[in-house]
Symmetry: C2
Subunit: 255 residues, 2 copies
Protein backbone atom coordinates (compact mmCIF):
# COMPACT_ATOMS: atom_id res chain seq x y z
CA UNK A 1 0.00 0.00 0.00
CA UNK A 2 1.44 3.31 -1.13
CA UNK A 3 1.55 6.44 0.96
CA UNK A 4 -0.93 8.73 -0.77
CA UNK A 5 -0.69 12.50 -0.41
CA UNK A 6 -4.15 13.38 -1.78
CA UNK A 7 -7.60 11.83 -1.81
CA UNK A 8 -10.56 12.19 -4.16
CA UNK A 9 -13.64 10.89 -2.37
CA UNK A 10 -17.06 10.09 -3.75
CA UNK A 11 -20.08 11.09 -1.65
CA UNK A 12 -23.34 9.12 -2.04
CA UNK A 13 -22.68 5.45 -1.22
CA UNK A 14 -19.21 6.27 0.13
CA UNK A 15 -19.59 8.97 2.85
CA UNK A 16 -23.35 8.68 3.28
CA UNK A 17 -26.32 6.83 1.83
CA UNK A 18 -29.11 9.34 1.22
CA UNK A 19 -29.59 10.83 4.68
CA UNK A 20 -27.71 8.04 6.52
CA UNK A 21 -24.09 8.54 7.64
CA UNK A 22 -21.41 5.94 6.91
CA UNK A 23 -19.45 6.11 10.19
CA UNK A 24 -16.26 4.43 8.98
CA UNK A 25 -15.99 6.92 6.12
CA UNK A 26 -16.54 9.88 8.42
CA UNK A 27 -13.79 8.67 10.75
CA UNK A 28 -11.54 8.21 7.72
CA UNK A 29 -12.11 11.82 6.59
CA UNK A 30 -11.52 13.10 10.11
CA UNK A 31 -8.20 11.26 10.17
CA UNK A 32 -7.21 12.84 6.83
CA UNK A 33 -8.08 16.26 8.26
CA UNK A 34 -6.07 15.57 11.43
CA UNK A 35 -3.01 14.53 9.43
CA UNK A 36 -3.29 17.52 7.10
CA UNK A 37 -3.72 15.29 4.03
CA UNK A 38 -5.64 17.16 1.30
CA UNK A 39 -8.95 15.71 0.11
CA UNK A 40 -11.67 16.71 -2.28
CA UNK A 41 -15.21 15.34 -2.41
CA UNK A 42 -15.89 14.54 -6.06
CA UNK A 43 -19.55 14.39 -7.02
CA UNK A 44 -21.58 13.91 -10.20
CA UNK A 45 -24.39 15.90 -8.59
CA UNK A 46 -24.65 18.90 -10.90
CA UNK A 47 -27.63 20.52 -9.20
CA UNK A 48 -26.12 21.86 -5.97
CA UNK A 49 -23.66 24.63 -5.22
CA UNK A 50 -20.51 23.33 -3.43
CA UNK A 51 -21.41 25.41 -0.36
CA UNK A 52 -24.70 23.50 -0.04
CA UNK A 53 -22.89 20.18 -0.36
CA UNK A 54 -20.36 21.22 2.31
CA UNK A 55 -23.18 22.34 4.59
CA UNK A 56 -24.93 18.97 4.25
CA UNK A 57 -21.62 17.22 5.05
CA UNK A 58 -20.97 19.35 8.14
CA UNK A 59 -24.51 18.51 9.26
CA UNK A 60 -23.35 14.87 9.27
CA UNK A 61 -20.22 15.79 11.24
CA UNK A 62 -17.96 15.40 8.19
CA UNK A 63 -15.16 17.99 8.15
CA UNK A 64 -15.96 19.83 4.90
CA UNK A 65 -15.62 23.41 3.70
CA UNK A 66 -16.84 24.70 0.32
CA UNK A 67 -13.29 24.34 -1.04
CA UNK A 68 -13.31 20.60 -0.21
CA UNK A 69 -16.14 20.00 -2.70
CA UNK A 70 -15.76 19.60 -6.45
CA UNK A 71 -18.91 19.07 -8.47
CA UNK A 72 -19.30 18.04 -12.09
CA UNK A 73 -20.81 21.47 -12.71
CA UNK A 74 -17.58 23.12 -11.54
CA UNK A 75 -15.57 20.71 -13.72
CA UNK A 76 -17.82 21.56 -16.67
CA UNK A 77 -17.34 25.31 -16.18
CA UNK A 78 -13.56 24.85 -15.88
CA UNK A 79 -13.47 22.67 -18.99
CA UNK A 80 -15.34 25.33 -21.00
CA UNK A 81 -13.06 28.07 -19.62
CA UNK A 82 -10.03 26.15 -20.92
CA UNK A 83 -11.60 25.86 -24.38
CA UNK A 84 -13.35 29.20 -24.84
CA UNK A 85 -13.43 31.73 -22.00
CA UNK A 86 -16.42 34.13 -22.07
CA UNK A 87 -18.24 31.82 -24.48
CA UNK A 88 -21.97 32.11 -25.12
CA UNK A 89 -23.64 29.17 -23.39
CA UNK A 90 -27.16 27.81 -23.47
CA UNK A 91 -27.43 25.91 -20.20
CA UNK A 92 -30.13 23.41 -19.23
CA UNK A 93 -29.72 22.59 -15.57
CA UNK A 94 -30.33 23.63 -12.00
CA UNK A 95 -28.69 26.19 -9.74
CA UNK A 96 -25.44 24.23 -9.28
CA UNK A 97 -24.74 24.32 -13.01
CA UNK A 98 -26.01 27.83 -13.70
CA UNK A 99 -24.06 29.36 -10.81
CA UNK A 100 -20.84 27.51 -11.75
CA UNK A 101 -21.10 28.89 -15.30
CA UNK A 102 -21.91 32.43 -14.12
CA UNK A 103 -19.01 32.37 -11.63
CA UNK A 104 -16.65 31.57 -14.51
CA UNK A 105 -17.91 34.55 -16.53
CA UNK A 106 -19.86 32.78 -19.27
CA UNK A 107 -22.68 34.54 -21.07
CA UNK A 108 -25.86 32.56 -20.48
CA UNK A 109 -28.09 33.06 -23.52
CA UNK A 110 -30.29 31.25 -26.02
CA UNK A 111 -28.99 33.15 -29.05
CA UNK A 112 -25.86 32.50 -31.15
CA UNK A 113 -24.61 29.98 -28.64
CA UNK A 114 -21.15 28.37 -28.74
CA UNK A 115 -22.00 25.60 -26.29
CA UNK A 116 -25.13 23.79 -25.20
CA UNK A 117 -24.44 22.54 -21.68
CA UNK A 118 -26.85 20.14 -20.05
CA UNK A 119 -27.17 18.58 -16.62
CA UNK A 120 -30.02 17.29 -14.52
CA UNK A 121 -32.95 19.73 -14.71
CA UNK A 122 -36.07 18.84 -12.77
CA UNK A 123 -37.77 21.88 -14.27
CA UNK A 124 -37.20 20.55 -17.79
CA UNK A 125 -39.57 21.82 -20.50
CA UNK A 126 -40.10 21.07 -24.17
CA UNK A 127 -39.04 24.65 -24.97
CA UNK A 128 -35.66 24.19 -23.24
CA UNK A 129 -35.11 20.95 -25.16
CA UNK A 130 -36.16 22.69 -28.38
CA UNK A 131 -33.72 25.57 -27.92
CA UNK A 132 -30.93 23.11 -27.09
CA UNK A 133 -31.69 20.89 -30.09
CA UNK A 134 -31.86 23.81 -32.54
CA UNK A 135 -28.57 25.25 -31.23
CA UNK A 136 -26.78 21.90 -31.59
CA UNK A 137 -28.16 21.52 -35.11
CA UNK A 138 -26.82 25.03 -35.80
CA UNK A 139 -23.33 23.95 -34.75
CA UNK A 140 -23.07 24.62 -31.01
CA UNK A 141 -20.79 22.15 -29.19
CA UNK A 142 -22.73 19.80 -26.94
CA UNK A 143 -21.38 19.30 -23.40
CA UNK A 144 -23.05 17.31 -20.61
CA UNK A 145 -22.24 17.25 -16.92
CA UNK A 146 -22.66 13.51 -16.38
CA UNK A 147 -24.19 10.39 -17.87
CA UNK A 148 -25.87 8.89 -14.77
CA UNK A 149 -29.14 7.43 -16.03
CA UNK A 150 -30.92 7.11 -12.69
CA UNK A 151 -31.19 9.19 -9.56
CA UNK A 152 -31.59 7.17 -6.34
CA UNK A 153 -34.23 8.75 -4.07
CA UNK A 154 -36.69 7.67 -1.41
CA UNK A 155 -39.34 7.34 -4.18
CA UNK A 156 -37.10 4.95 -6.12
CA UNK A 157 -34.86 5.49 -9.14
CA UNK A 158 -35.90 8.69 -10.91
CA UNK A 159 -34.66 9.82 -14.34
CA UNK A 160 -31.03 10.95 -14.08
CA UNK A 161 -29.22 13.54 -16.15
CA UNK A 162 -28.04 10.93 -18.66
CA UNK A 163 -31.60 10.00 -19.53
CA UNK A 164 -32.75 13.63 -19.96
CA UNK A 165 -29.64 14.37 -22.03
CA UNK A 166 -30.56 11.49 -24.36
CA UNK A 167 -33.40 13.63 -25.74
CA UNK A 168 -30.87 15.97 -27.35
CA UNK A 169 -28.58 13.13 -28.41
CA UNK A 170 -31.38 11.16 -30.06
CA UNK A 171 -33.02 14.13 -31.78
CA UNK A 172 -29.79 15.68 -33.15
CA UNK A 173 -27.67 12.56 -33.64
CA UNK A 174 -24.85 14.38 -31.78
CA UNK A 175 -23.26 12.78 -28.72
CA UNK A 176 -22.17 15.19 -25.98
CA UNK A 177 -18.76 15.41 -24.38
CA UNK A 178 -19.45 14.18 -20.87
CA UNK A 179 -17.40 15.74 -18.06
CA UNK A 180 -18.31 13.86 -14.86
CA UNK A 181 -17.20 10.44 -13.61
CA UNK A 182 -16.31 8.02 -15.28
CA UNK A 183 -14.65 10.56 -17.61
CA UNK A 184 -11.01 11.43 -16.94
CA UNK A 185 -11.82 15.14 -17.35
CA UNK A 186 -13.35 15.67 -13.89
CA UNK A 187 -10.47 13.81 -12.22
CA UNK A 188 -7.86 15.88 -14.03
CA UNK A 189 -9.66 19.11 -13.10
CA UNK A 190 -9.87 17.91 -9.48
CA UNK A 191 -6.14 17.11 -9.33
CA UNK A 192 -5.41 20.70 -10.36
CA UNK A 193 -7.51 21.92 -7.44
CA UNK A 194 -6.12 19.38 -4.98
CA UNK A 195 -2.53 20.14 -6.04
CA UNK A 196 -1.27 16.57 -5.89
CA UNK A 197 0.16 14.49 -8.75
CA UNK A 198 -1.48 11.45 -10.35
CA UNK A 199 1.08 9.17 -8.74
CA UNK A 200 0.36 10.30 -5.19
CA UNK A 201 -3.47 10.56 -5.37
CA UNK A 202 -6.09 7.93 -4.58
CA UNK A 203 -9.67 7.86 -5.90
CA UNK A 204 -12.08 6.42 -3.30
CA UNK A 205 -15.63 5.35 -4.15
CA UNK A 206 -18.36 2.70 -4.02
CA UNK A 207 -19.36 2.68 -7.67
CA UNK A 208 -17.15 0.82 -10.14
CA UNK A 209 -18.83 2.26 -13.22
CA UNK A 210 -18.34 5.88 -12.20
CA UNK A 211 -15.76 6.35 -9.40
CA UNK A 212 -13.34 3.55 -10.15
CA UNK A 213 -13.48 3.89 -13.93
CA UNK A 214 -12.85 7.64 -13.56
CA UNK A 215 -9.66 6.77 -11.64
CA UNK A 216 -8.65 4.17 -14.21
CA UNK A 217 -9.36 6.50 -17.16
CA UNK A 218 -7.31 9.28 -15.53
CA UNK A 219 -4.48 6.89 -14.65
CA UNK A 220 -4.64 7.19 -10.86
CA UNK A 221 -4.91 4.49 -8.22
CA UNK A 222 -8.38 3.60 -6.96
CA UNK A 223 -9.98 2.13 -3.88
CA UNK A 224 -13.39 0.46 -4.16
CA UNK A 225 -15.29 0.33 -0.88
CA UNK A 226 -18.21 -2.10 -0.70
CA UNK A 227 -20.53 0.32 1.07
CA UNK A 228 -22.77 1.23 -1.84
CA UNK A 229 -23.59 0.28 -5.43
CA UNK A 230 -20.93 -2.20 -6.57
CA UNK A 231 -21.00 -5.74 -5.21
CA UNK A 232 -18.18 -8.30 -5.08
CA UNK A 233 -20.13 -10.39 -7.59
CA UNK A 234 -20.28 -7.49 -10.05
CA UNK A 235 -16.59 -6.77 -9.61
CA UNK A 236 -15.74 -10.33 -10.66
CA UNK A 237 -17.18 -9.54 -14.11
CA UNK A 238 -15.01 -6.50 -14.86
CA UNK A 239 -11.65 -6.79 -16.58
CA UNK A 240 -9.88 -3.69 -15.25
CA UNK A 241 -9.84 -3.97 -11.47
CA UNK A 242 -9.51 -1.21 -8.89
CA UNK A 243 -6.06 -0.95 -7.26
CA UNK A 244 -7.63 -1.91 -3.90
CA UNK A 245 -10.97 -3.18 -2.63
CA UNK A 246 -12.17 -2.99 0.95
CA UNK A 247 -15.33 -3.83 2.91
CA UNK A 248 -15.27 -0.65 4.97
CA UNK A 249 -12.98 2.35 5.25
CA UNK A 250 -12.43 1.33 8.89
CA UNK A 251 -10.07 -1.31 7.48
CA UNK A 252 -7.95 1.20 5.55
CA UNK A 253 -4.68 2.01 7.28
CA UNK A 254 -3.34 5.42 6.39
CA UNK A 255 0.44 5.23 5.93
Amino acid sequence: MKKYQGFLIDLDGTVYKGTERIEAAISFVKELKKRGLPYLFLTNNSTKHPSEVAKKLRGMDVPAETENVYTTSMATANYLAEHKPKARVYAIGEDGLLSALKEKGFILTDENVDFVVMGLDREITYEKLTIGALAIRNGATFIATNADVALPTERGFLPGSGSLISVLTVTTGVKPQFIGKPEAIIVEQALDVLGTSKEETLMVGDNYDTDILAGIHAGIDSLLVYSGVTTKKHLETVSKKPTYTIDTLADWKLQ
Copy 2:
Protein backbone atom coordinates in the same frame (compact mmCIF):
# COMPACT_ATOMS: atom_id res chain seq x y z
CA MET B 1 -49.22 -2.69 -61.88
CA LYS B 2 -51.88 -4.41 -59.83
CA LYS B 3 -55.40 -3.17 -59.37
CA TYR B 4 -55.50 -2.11 -55.71
CA GLN B 5 -58.78 -2.00 -53.79
CA GLY B 6 -57.57 0.00 -50.78
CA PHE B 7 -55.01 2.71 -50.07
CA LEU B 8 -53.10 3.70 -46.97
CA ILE B 9 -51.76 7.20 -47.49
CA ASP B 10 -49.19 9.11 -45.48
CA LEU B 11 -49.84 12.82 -44.87
CA ASP B 12 -46.85 15.15 -44.29
CA GLY B 13 -44.55 15.01 -47.33
CA THR B 14 -47.13 13.05 -49.32
CA VAL B 15 -50.41 15.02 -49.31
CA TYR B 16 -48.97 18.30 -48.04
CA LYS B 17 -45.72 19.79 -46.82
CA GLY B 18 -46.39 21.75 -43.63
CA THR B 19 -49.03 24.23 -44.80
CA GLU B 20 -48.35 23.72 -48.53
CA ARG B 21 -50.63 21.48 -50.64
CA ILE B 22 -49.21 18.83 -52.95
CA GLU B 23 -51.60 19.19 -55.89
CA ALA B 24 -50.88 15.87 -57.58
CA ALA B 25 -51.66 14.02 -54.36
CA ILE B 26 -54.89 15.91 -53.83
CA SER B 27 -56.05 15.06 -57.36
CA PHE B 28 -55.10 11.44 -56.67
CA VAL B 29 -57.23 11.32 -53.52
CA LYS B 30 -60.14 12.97 -55.33
CA GLU B 31 -59.93 10.29 -58.00
CA LEU B 32 -60.00 7.55 -55.33
CA LYS B 33 -63.08 9.20 -53.83
CA LYS B 34 -64.76 9.45 -57.25
CA ARG B 35 -64.14 5.78 -57.98
CA GLY B 36 -65.33 4.71 -54.54
CA LEU B 37 -61.96 3.16 -53.65
CA PRO B 38 -61.47 3.13 -49.86
CA TYR B 39 -58.52 5.04 -48.42
CA LEU B 40 -57.19 5.85 -44.98
CA PHE B 41 -54.70 8.56 -44.08
CA LEU B 42 -52.11 6.94 -41.86
CA THR B 43 -50.18 9.31 -39.63
CA ASN B 44 -47.54 9.03 -36.90
CA ASN B 45 -48.84 12.31 -35.45
CA SER B 46 -50.08 11.23 -32.03
CA THR B 47 -51.06 14.68 -30.80
CA LYS B 48 -54.20 15.41 -32.82
CA HIS B 49 -57.70 13.96 -32.79
CA PRO B 50 -58.65 12.45 -36.19
CA SER B 51 -61.43 15.06 -36.55
CA GLU B 52 -58.81 17.84 -36.37
CA VAL B 53 -56.67 16.10 -38.98
CA ALA B 54 -59.70 15.69 -41.28
CA LYS B 55 -60.61 19.34 -40.82
CA LYS B 56 -57.10 20.46 -41.80
CA LEU B 57 -57.30 18.22 -44.90
CA ARG B 58 -60.69 19.58 -45.95
CA GLY B 59 -59.22 23.07 -45.55
CA MET B 60 -56.74 22.04 -48.25
CA ASP B 61 -59.57 20.73 -50.46
CA VAL B 62 -58.67 17.09 -49.72
CA PRO B 63 -61.77 14.87 -49.45
CA ALA B 64 -61.44 13.66 -45.86
CA GLU B 65 -63.87 12.76 -43.09
CA THR B 66 -62.88 11.78 -39.56
CA GLU B 67 -63.28 8.10 -40.52
CA ASN B 68 -60.66 8.50 -43.27
CA VAL B 69 -57.96 9.28 -40.69
CA TYR B 70 -56.05 6.74 -38.65
CA THR B 71 -53.49 8.05 -36.18
CA THR B 72 -50.84 6.19 -34.25
CA SER B 73 -52.73 7.14 -31.09
CA MET B 74 -55.80 5.27 -32.38
CA ALA B 75 -53.61 2.31 -33.31
CA THR B 76 -52.08 2.38 -29.83
CA ALA B 77 -55.50 2.39 -28.15
CA ASN B 78 -56.67 -0.47 -30.36
CA TYR B 79 -53.51 -2.45 -29.67
CA LEU B 80 -54.02 -2.07 -25.91
CA ALA B 81 -57.71 -3.01 -26.24
CA GLU B 82 -56.69 -6.27 -27.94
CA HIS B 83 -54.27 -7.07 -25.12
CA LYS B 84 -56.07 -5.85 -22.01
CA PRO B 85 -59.40 -4.03 -22.32
CA LYS B 86 -60.17 -1.59 -19.46
CA ALA B 87 -56.54 -1.62 -18.42
CA ARG B 88 -55.07 0.99 -16.09
CA VAL B 89 -52.91 3.28 -18.20
CA TYR B 90 -50.47 6.03 -17.32
CA ALA B 91 -50.36 8.13 -20.48
CA ILE B 92 -47.80 10.80 -21.34
CA GLY B 93 -48.98 12.63 -24.42
CA GLU B 94 -51.26 15.27 -25.87
CA ASP B 95 -54.97 15.37 -26.59
CA GLY B 96 -54.82 12.96 -29.56
CA LEU B 97 -53.42 10.20 -27.37
CA LEU B 98 -55.44 10.91 -24.25
CA SER B 99 -58.75 11.10 -26.15
CA ALA B 100 -58.02 7.90 -28.11
CA LEU B 101 -57.38 6.04 -24.84
CA LYS B 102 -60.47 7.49 -23.15
CA GLU B 103 -62.67 6.63 -26.14
CA LYS B 104 -61.55 3.00 -25.84
CA GLY B 105 -62.52 2.91 -22.16
CA PHE B 106 -59.12 2.78 -20.51
CA ILE B 107 -58.65 4.03 -16.96
CA LEU B 108 -56.14 6.88 -17.06
CA THR B 109 -54.31 6.88 -13.74
CA ASP B 110 -50.90 7.11 -12.15
CA GLU B 111 -51.46 4.33 -9.63
CA ASN B 112 -51.13 0.56 -10.09
CA VAL B 113 -50.75 0.96 -13.83
CA ASP B 114 -50.69 -1.92 -16.33
CA PHE B 115 -49.29 0.14 -19.18
CA VAL B 116 -47.18 3.24 -19.52
CA VAL B 117 -48.07 4.75 -22.89
CA MET B 118 -46.01 7.59 -24.27
CA GLY B 119 -46.22 9.83 -27.31
CA LEU B 120 -45.12 13.35 -28.13
CA ASP B 121 -45.90 15.65 -25.20
CA ARG B 122 -44.92 19.28 -25.56
CA GLU B 123 -46.03 19.84 -21.95
CA ILE B 124 -43.55 17.26 -20.70
CA THR B 125 -42.43 17.59 -17.08
CA TYR B 126 -39.93 15.82 -14.86
CA GLU B 127 -42.82 14.60 -12.71
CA LYS B 128 -44.52 12.89 -15.68
CA LEU B 129 -41.22 11.22 -16.60
CA THR B 130 -40.73 10.19 -12.98
CA ILE B 131 -44.17 8.58 -12.70
CA GLY B 132 -43.62 6.77 -16.01
CA ALA B 133 -40.15 5.55 -15.00
CA LEU B 134 -41.29 4.31 -11.59
CA ALA B 135 -44.28 2.48 -13.12
CA ILE B 136 -42.09 0.73 -15.69
CA ARG B 137 -39.62 -0.26 -12.96
CA ASN B 138 -42.62 -1.64 -11.05
CA GLY B 139 -43.54 -3.86 -13.99
CA ALA B 140 -45.91 -1.84 -16.18
CA THR B 141 -45.63 -2.65 -19.90
CA PHE B 142 -44.05 0.18 -21.86
CA ILE B 143 -45.80 1.18 -25.12
CA ALA B 144 -44.87 4.12 -27.36
CA THR B 145 -46.84 5.67 -30.18
CA ASN B 146 -43.93 6.22 -32.56
CA ALA B 147 -40.18 6.48 -32.74
CA ASP B 148 -39.79 9.62 -34.89
CA VAL B 149 -36.81 11.47 -33.41
CA ALA B 150 -37.45 14.88 -34.97
CA LEU B 151 -40.48 17.01 -35.66
CA PRO B 152 -40.21 19.19 -38.78
CA THR B 153 -41.55 22.70 -38.11
CA GLU B 154 -41.00 26.24 -39.36
CA ARG B 155 -38.47 26.72 -36.51
CA GLY B 156 -36.49 23.69 -37.69
CA PHE B 157 -36.35 20.11 -36.44
CA LEU B 158 -37.69 19.98 -32.88
CA PRO B 159 -37.47 16.98 -30.53
CA GLY B 160 -39.84 14.24 -31.72
CA SER B 161 -41.64 11.63 -29.66
CA GLY B 162 -38.82 9.12 -30.13
CA SER B 163 -36.34 11.44 -28.44
CA LEU B 164 -38.63 12.20 -25.47
CA ILE B 165 -39.42 8.49 -25.11
CA SER B 166 -35.69 7.77 -24.87
CA VAL B 167 -35.70 9.30 -21.36
CA LEU B 168 -37.78 6.37 -20.10
CA THR B 169 -35.84 3.81 -22.16
CA VAL B 170 -32.46 5.05 -20.94
CA THR B 171 -33.43 5.41 -17.29
CA THR B 172 -35.24 2.06 -16.98
CA GLY B 173 -33.31 -0.03 -19.50
CA VAL B 174 -36.66 -1.14 -20.95
CA LYS B 175 -37.39 -0.64 -24.64
CA PRO B 176 -41.01 0.17 -25.50
CA GLN B 177 -43.20 -1.61 -27.99
CA PHE B 178 -43.58 1.00 -30.72
CA ILE B 179 -46.91 1.06 -32.57
CA GLY B 180 -46.57 3.64 -35.38
CA LYS B 181 -44.82 3.39 -38.75
CA PRO B 182 -42.44 1.61 -39.52
CA GLU B 183 -44.00 -1.03 -37.25
CA ALA B 184 -46.38 -3.53 -38.85
CA ILE B 185 -48.85 -3.02 -36.00
CA ILE B 186 -50.32 0.27 -37.22
CA VAL B 187 -50.69 -1.11 -40.76
CA GLU B 188 -52.47 -4.22 -39.56
CA GLN B 189 -54.81 -2.12 -37.41
CA ALA B 190 -55.47 0.16 -40.39
CA LEU B 191 -56.28 -2.78 -42.70
CA ASP B 192 -58.96 -3.88 -40.22
CA VAL B 193 -60.51 -0.42 -40.43
CA LEU B 194 -60.15 -0.15 -44.21
CA GLY B 195 -61.61 -3.64 -44.71
CA THR B 196 -59.28 -4.69 -47.52
CA SER B 197 -56.79 -7.58 -47.54
CA LYS B 198 -53.02 -7.29 -47.56
CA GLU B 199 -52.88 -8.46 -51.17
CA GLU B 200 -55.19 -5.74 -52.48
CA THR B 201 -53.89 -2.77 -50.43
CA LEU B 202 -51.16 -0.26 -51.29
CA MET B 203 -49.17 1.84 -48.82
CA VAL B 204 -48.33 5.27 -50.28
CA GLY B 205 -45.75 7.60 -48.71
CA ASP B 206 -42.66 9.79 -49.13
CA ASN B 207 -40.56 8.42 -46.29
CA TYR B 208 -38.75 5.13 -46.81
CA ASP B 209 -37.83 4.70 -43.15
CA THR B 210 -41.40 5.01 -41.88
CA ASP B 211 -44.04 4.62 -44.62
CA ILE B 212 -42.35 2.14 -46.92
CA LEU B 213 -40.80 0.02 -44.17
CA ALA B 214 -44.22 -0.15 -42.48
CA GLY B 215 -45.61 -1.59 -45.72
CA ILE B 216 -42.69 -4.02 -46.06
CA HIS B 217 -42.94 -5.13 -42.42
CA ALA B 218 -46.68 -5.73 -42.76
CA GLY B 219 -46.23 -7.57 -46.07
CA ILE B 220 -48.18 -5.18 -48.30
CA ASP B 221 -47.15 -3.46 -51.53
CA SER B 222 -45.74 0.05 -51.26
CA LEU B 223 -45.40 3.12 -53.44
CA LEU B 224 -42.66 5.65 -52.66
CA VAL B 225 -43.37 9.11 -54.03
CA TYR B 226 -40.40 11.50 -54.26
CA SER B 227 -42.31 14.48 -52.88
CA GLY B 228 -40.84 14.58 -49.39
CA VAL B 229 -38.11 13.08 -47.24
CA THR B 230 -36.58 10.19 -49.20
CA THR B 231 -34.36 10.96 -52.19
CA LYS B 232 -33.43 8.67 -55.10
CA LYS B 233 -29.86 8.69 -53.82
CA HIS B 234 -30.97 7.45 -50.40
CA LEU B 235 -33.13 4.76 -51.95
CA GLU B 236 -30.11 3.33 -53.80
CA THR B 237 -28.59 2.49 -50.41
CA VAL B 238 -31.49 0.39 -49.09
CA SER B 239 -31.69 -3.35 -49.69
CA LYS B 240 -35.46 -3.90 -49.51
CA LYS B 241 -37.02 -1.68 -52.18
CA PRO B 242 -40.58 -0.34 -52.37
CA THR B 243 -42.82 -2.12 -54.88
CA TYR B 244 -43.03 1.10 -56.92
CA THR B 245 -41.36 4.51 -56.98
CA ILE B 246 -42.74 7.59 -58.67
CA ASP B 247 -41.79 11.29 -58.97
CA THR B 248 -45.34 12.55 -58.48
CA LEU B 249 -48.72 10.95 -57.91
CA ALA B 250 -49.83 12.66 -61.16
CA ASP B 251 -47.94 9.84 -62.91
CA TRP B 252 -49.82 7.07 -61.13
CA LYS B 253 -52.51 5.48 -63.29
CA LEU B 254 -55.30 3.94 -61.28
CA GLN B 255 -56.33 0.65 -62.86
